[in-house]
Symmetry: C2
């Protein structure tokens, strides 16, 4: 579904990002979910280098992206938005109750078990690699991240997706695994590398990523 300036759904995204954040910012989660659901949307671009406009803070108090608006109201938090979109899209959230619960578990596991275990390491490598504290702290952060990835790898096993088919849980997990690029850690888990690649090969992901990058180019002018 291409971006559509008349769409009823509007999300926010940053108009500029430093190179390391291009292609991984959290608006991609919501774009991807909307693409899987076949829902058109338009974007409100926000410049992260400027103070956030008051009317933006009214819809996203923390000033992050994405926010989400449709005729029913405004939302923030990519996890809540993706679950909301998923509730209208059986591709993302199966109708059978137990399968729905499993998909929801993986959304939270991505955001509250995997992301917190890897983000401090990602941040260290991106922004503090040469700081004197980094050399001291890096081994423990790598060990923690590796421990979680090893469990995820074992749980995925030789399956294509975390459960018996693609769900919102895979969408969120694949997005979170993309953060790992500056750490080189994922390469130790070939099954997770292939899993992430399967997610990124979905046409909906490709469109989401292309539109994310295209909005950044527009914002650069």
């Amino acid at each position: 579904m291409p971006l559509n300036n008349d769409a009823a759904i509007r999300i926010s995204a940053f108009s500029w990002l430093p190179p390391f954040a291009q292609g991984v910012a959290r608006d991609i989660r919501v774009r991807w979910a909307l693409e899987e659901a076949g829902l058109g949307y338009r974007t409100r671009l926000v410049d992260p280098r400027q103070p956030k406009p008051e009317d933006y803070l009214a819809e996203q108090p923390f000033g992050q992206v994405p926010s989400y608006c449709d005729p029913d109201g405004t939302m923030f938090e990519s996890g809540a938005i993706v679950l909301h979109i998923a509730s209208k899209c059986p591709t993302l959230l199966p109708e059978e109750l137990q399968a729905r619960k499993r998909a929801t578990i993986w959304v939270f596991a991505a955001l509250n078990t995997i992301e917190p275990a890897i983000f401090p390491l990602v941040e260290l490598e991106l922004s503090h690699a040469a700081a004197s504290w980094a050399a001291e702290r890096r081994p423990a952060l790598r060990e923690r991240a590796a421990l979680r990835l090893a469990v995820l790898d074992k749980t995925l096993g030789d399956k294509e997706w975390l459960e018996d088919r693609f769900t919102a849980g895979d969408l969120m997990m694949v997005h979170v695994l993309r953060f790992l690029r500056p750490t080189g850690l994922l390469e130790g888990y070939p099954r997770l590398v292939a899993y992430k690649a399967r997610g990124e090969a979905r046409p909906a992901f490709k469109r989401a990523l292309a539109d994310h990058l295209s909005d950044l180019s527009a914002g650069a002018s």
Copy 2:
């Protein structure tokens, strides 16, 4: 609702915790939700000092607590479990659609915006306060946590709860704010201190905390 060995719902909790984790472990979130919903439950106690039994890893692959079982199946991730319980309890999740969405937003904000911004600081103070890297890293971690708390404080304002009444979003946020104890940061925000105290004054929270501590005493024997 007291613990009930015949209950259909079973959650897991640790049988032992170091002093700093007593009263803040994540099983409390689920106990609290069950108490708000008036649902009885029993506990499976897991010793974090021992290798996790295989049948426990089958229900919680990361070996964390809590897991949750009812006759419909097994779950993990406290966020997913609390939303599942909340879906059957209007006290936790209002029936009106927009109010439901707002409650869900705050569950995710607690877990994916506030918790990741405070946890590295909490961990530093609890486990690494004297490490040489801690002195160098502390100011930036305090600044990040304070930035998020300032927004939360402003968003709460003089309201009693984050929306117009208590929801699962407040349950999760109050639990996350409890992590801050070793940092002394919360005391800079008297409205957040009072908000946390309002949550902790709920009878359901008090029962959840008492049973969490009681399971730890039983495990100590």
